[in-house]
Symmetry: C2
């Protein structure tokens, strides 16, 4: 008997009506002869509403209590889906992350899954029940406190359960139809991919694609979980995310798609002494503030030949804090000034195919030049090329690259107001 894990995002369960439709799909999957485990996010905007309520009673809510509060959202939606399944005549039981055996670190608000021991889930499945598991949460191994897993946590819960239960597939349902060669709202003739390897999906996610989070793809890759990204509004097949790009024959390796990202800002530390150790001081200062850095560039300084400029990108939300931190250490580190730019965009081409196709970088740059997009910074990996440009030019850049590499299909995509939730 096949075991299917399904995950439904917040907008898929945002009302009693949507909940009933999701229940129908779940029961169909069960009737087709599968064991079914379902992970459900909180309804609609519940998490944001609870956060808002928290801030009304406490400006900086303590992390442990915030996790106790927010996990109510998933508890509510899972119990309701279980009830809706029951009203369709099937058996269903809901469990919290803790009850389902999701064991995590103690980092409230951003806990990592250490282990999944799904004994109660398996027992309920063996009794013929459909099982609901609240996503986005687990229990801390040390303190036995309830924890939440951070952004994309429900996807990670679903993949982790699929791994622990040896599921045949992990279906991630949202309001988008699958993974596309580019965002269909920018490129109407973008094509839905039938299949993407783990490494390529990791790059797409790292480069701004929102349909699956980095953490859940990495977990799927490590435990070889087949992921199927599909829409909860249609019966169409979506995109399978599975397998290693190493397994793709060289002749078949293709370019997967164009991703874009508006969420980053750029910091330039100007006039740093061009000697060993100074770059390290800059990056240590930023790391100590718990900020992740993305792209990095080091240049001869414009202002002084004995100096160097270091440029890096980071999430916009962390920008002001990074600038503040570095400014505090200006005297200690010894640079001239900091330039902060939050009007940048990042566009990336991803694909296992570029390893074996020389000239991709050249075509890439030519396409952007022809579109009048100025390249600010380039960064590459084995299967990815990313550049920074002005955020106002980002859409042009995406279209130009998509066209230049022949990624478009003949039909225009029907675009729902998809957010990938």
């Amino acid at each position: 008997m096949a075991l299917v894990v399904q995950k439904y995002g917040g907008s898929s369960v945002e009302s009693a009506e949507r909940i009933r439709r999701v229940a129908e799909r779940i029961v169909e999957t069960k009737k087709a002869g599968n064991d079914v485990v379902v992970v459900v996010s909180a309804m609609g905007d519940t998490t944001d509403e609870l956060l808002d309520l928290a801030e009304q009673v406490c400006p900086v809510p303590p992390a442990r209590e915030l996790d106790m509060l927010l996990t109510s959202g998933e508890r509510i939606s899972n119990a309701l889906v279980a009830m809706a399944i029951h009203s369709l005549g099937a058996e269903a039981r809901s469990f919290t992350g803790s009850q389902a055996g999701v064991i995590t670190t103690s980092a409230h608000g951003n806990a990592k899954i250490i282990d999944v021991t799904p004994g109660r889930v398996r027992a309920a499945l063996d009794k013929g029940s459909i099982v609901l598991v609240a996503g986005f949460q687990g229990v801390s191994q040390d303190s036995k406190d309830v924890t939440t897993l951070g952004r994309g946590g429900s996807d990670t819960t679903a993949v982790a359960l699929a791994a622990a239960l040896n599921a045949d597939v992990c279906e991630i349902y949202s309001d988008v139809d699958g993974v596309y060669t580019a965002d269909p709202r920018i490129v109407p003739n973008a094509q839905k991919l039938a299949y993407v390897s783990f490494e390529e999906m990791l790059e797409m996610a790292a480069c701004g694609a929102k349909v699956l989070g980095l953490r859940c793809v990495e977990y799927a890759r490590r435990y070889h979980v087949k992921v199927h990204v599909r829409s909860s509004y249609t019966d169409n097949e979506g995109t399978y995310v599975y397998g290693s790009m190493e397994d793709i024959p060289v002749e078949e390796a293709i370019l997967t798609g164009v991703a874009h990202d508006r969420s980053e800002a750029k910091v330039t530390v100007v006039g740093l002494p061009d000697s060993p150790g100074y770059a390290a001081k800059v990056f240590r200062a930023v790391a100590d503030a718990d900020i992740n850095i993305d792209m990095v560039l080091q240049n001869i300084s414009k202002i002084d030949t004995g100096k160097t400029d270091i440029t890096f990108t980071l999430p916009k939300t962390d920008g002001p804090r990074a600038v503040e931190q570095l400014t505090k250490l200006q005297g200690v580190i010894g640079f001239s000034n900091i330039v902060y730019d939050d009007h940048i965009g990042k566009v990336s081409l991803v694909g296992a195919g570029m390893k074996s196709h020389p000239g991709v970088t050249a075509t890439f740059c030519e396409a952007l030049a022809e579109a009048g997009v100025n390249i600010d910074l380039i960064s590459t990996s084995e299967i990815r090329i990313s550049v920074l440009c002005r955020d106002t030019e980002l859409d042009h850049a995406v279209k130009a690259l998509h066209e230049a590499f022949g990624l478009g299909g003949d039909e225009e995509v029907v675009v729902h107001a998809g957010t990938g939730r």
Copy 2:
């Protein structure tokens, strides 16, 4: 160091603003040098809203899932109160009923507390924390499922914790100021009682007084928990519920108050054979439908001297079901017909004093007669006299009895729109 348990009802925490006020009171209690444990109900009408959502997805929600759903309400309010306390500079941790060691039967929706093992609560108190415990819930000893305790469950949680932790007092906060000699909305010169014994409070609760539920008073009595009923809107002392009426010296025993109840209906089984066993069949039929009976009266039948009529009262909500059940068994049991009356009211006089004061029953009936209230049925216990009358005459009956037994004070009570929540 004294240990105080406080319970706050739904209207006391119905908004962010009310939550902050409750937090202030809690922190004051802690600063006065006490260990503090707080039980909080769900905010405002949350429980009813969740029930409504449940019925939208499933007409008859499965009991286990309903408990998973409803317990979210208390989880939310307790986490928010803990956060509000934190913002006032004090330490607080919230626990679910399960985490706090509230062990129950498996009867979802109406579970009984079997035991309370408050290890984690005690540990948190010893570390100097204020502890929040979600009311109305526990965990089933057998299935390890989450359970809810039925109506008044948060009061029961508070008293049970007070017993297990050997608390000095259990303060029950609502929007009413204490226990009165009668409902101040009917009798403006009703007086607040400084003290009521357990047995008297049990009778008051059984006779319709809503401020404390039967189950929590019985629990308090069994474990000798001192209960203090007070308002969360003022600093006034309320009513202490404590001690046995046996301990009250005969000369000091008084009449406690007048309770009234509009929630019952009356069923008369007409023309039952007047032989052994038939009354038993009637009561067995009603008991099998899981319906509780209150007052009972058996009369010579009006229709036939060899027959008898049996009359009993029950909650209005169970009325139609009881009639249906008896009607089904009419042939088997062999009665003529059933009369159903849901326009009755019950008025009761309660007080340890009546044991030692002959003539109370006479005064009682005279007062009602003078007020033009017709007595339909009388029932008495050692410390209570109850009668049924028309529901339209109930207020007159309450006023008349309160006056006749000199229970009124000189001042008129300032009445909040109190519901006792």
